[in-house]
Amino acid sequence: MSSNTSRRRWPLLLPPLLWQLTFFLLPLLFLFVISFWSVVNFRLEPDMTLKNWDFMLSRSSFWSAYGHTWALALGAAVVTTCCSFPAACSLAFTVSERTRKLALMFLVVPFFTSYLVRVYSWQAFLADNGIVNALLALVGLDGLPMLNSDFGSLVGYVTLALPLVTLVQTMGLAQIDRNLIEAAHNLRAGPVRTLFEVIMPLAKPSLVVGALFAFILAFGDFVAPTYLGGGAPPTLSNLIIDTTKSGQQWPRAAVVAIVMILTLVVTSLAAVRLAYGRRK
């Protein structure tokens, strides 16, 4: 039987495997390779040099971009997690299954619609003479500068990540055994204590995984920091684009890309360990 199934599985296994190896894994590995190549007369030449690594990693501007990107992505993870938690609780515990499914569907749809247009639309809300400031003026408040700041970037990140994070949290919360919550209630735990000592520990994996998604999305996004954050100081993704598009310095951009991938891998591993505890 086993040799039979193994013969049976190759025709189905090979096409997707070969495709993803050739067009996903190899391009990523190739980035690592070209980070040691050099650029001669705007052309990529195979080489074995460390000068791209040296050039990027010795610059303080690179490290300040790194710190800025990290801080923004962490901020996005925290803000998105906090913003979506009340909504996720509400969807998981206080509405019917039918309503919840409908709400989740509404949440997922924007995920498949143009992020660029949504960001452009936020510009109209956040501009100095934009919608939010017009509304503030109506109630007699002074306008706030919001566009071209870290706040602007954060609005973009939350737009990008909120639907997904709410979805993950709602699904995590909905799986909690209601008996445990009732038990806490019967044992005279108040709603706040139940929330912090029963619900949140049980929902920890979904909270952490949701936050991780927000972090990953924000860490790699170049649209929000460019068109809502003003592009200065740059993020790592801005740096990749500038380095690639001007001067054809692909090897240097590859160095930035590899540092980003390593950061994401380390962060993801740490988050997974945090989410699923120390079960060894």
Partner: protein, 284 residues
Amino acid sequence: MMLRLGRWFGWAYTGYTFLFILAPIAASLVFSFNADRFPSLPLKGFTTEWYGGTFTDPLVIEAFQRSVMVSIPVALLSTILGFCAAYCDFRFDFRGKSLFSLLMLLPPTIPAVIMGLGMLSYLSRISLAGEVWAVLISHVVIALPFAMAMIRLRLAQMDSALEEASWNLQASPAQTLWYVVLPFCKQSLVAAFLITAAVSFDEFAVAWFVSGLNETVPVRVLVFLQGQVSPVINAIGTAVFTSSIFLVAIGMAFSGMGKAKRAAADGPAQPAAGALVSNNGLSL
């Protein structure tokens, strides 16, 4: 009393969350008909000038044709490859299976700029960068995981006895796949096709890196965005929103419809099957 207050607060908050998510979409729709070039309040009056300007711009028309030409083969290929991957994950046990599934599902977590740079440098070595093919190839890589996940969820609902019965009735594995498994997955295949088409139709970052002069619609929007304030973006945006939401909504209706029908057919007499169906939670 406290609890009821908390409940109302929760609903109001959830309402605001949806408002936050939908506000930019709604604003884009409103401003696409606003006579003022600059998107600001108060509104200046109704116009369809921007739509007229958009749909007579040869660059936009070409980009639109290109996007359609790319997204259909992308959807077809990702759905086929996604089905193969999902079925392997469902049916077979082999060494390195979790690595296989990881490789299949990983692409959406890689930042698009990095994918873009990797694809650009790799595909230009094999003389494909700057061609429509490059966009097609990269989009299949990005869309395949969505198709795989959707089809895998559907396969999880399949009673494995179904396949065994078919084998016992002397059907070959290939016949079983064709006459039993594929029909069972039909709705999720249609849903995967529509959603991967929407993914391709909306993807801008990798396409921007690899497409060269062959702009797709979202790449055109990005170019507009880099230029001046342009109400044309709202017009294109609203048109594209409408079509993507349409695609995704039909896709979801398809993956949900089968469920509703089955639940109705199963009726209360088969609570186990009903529970299996509803336990799946999200059928996306």
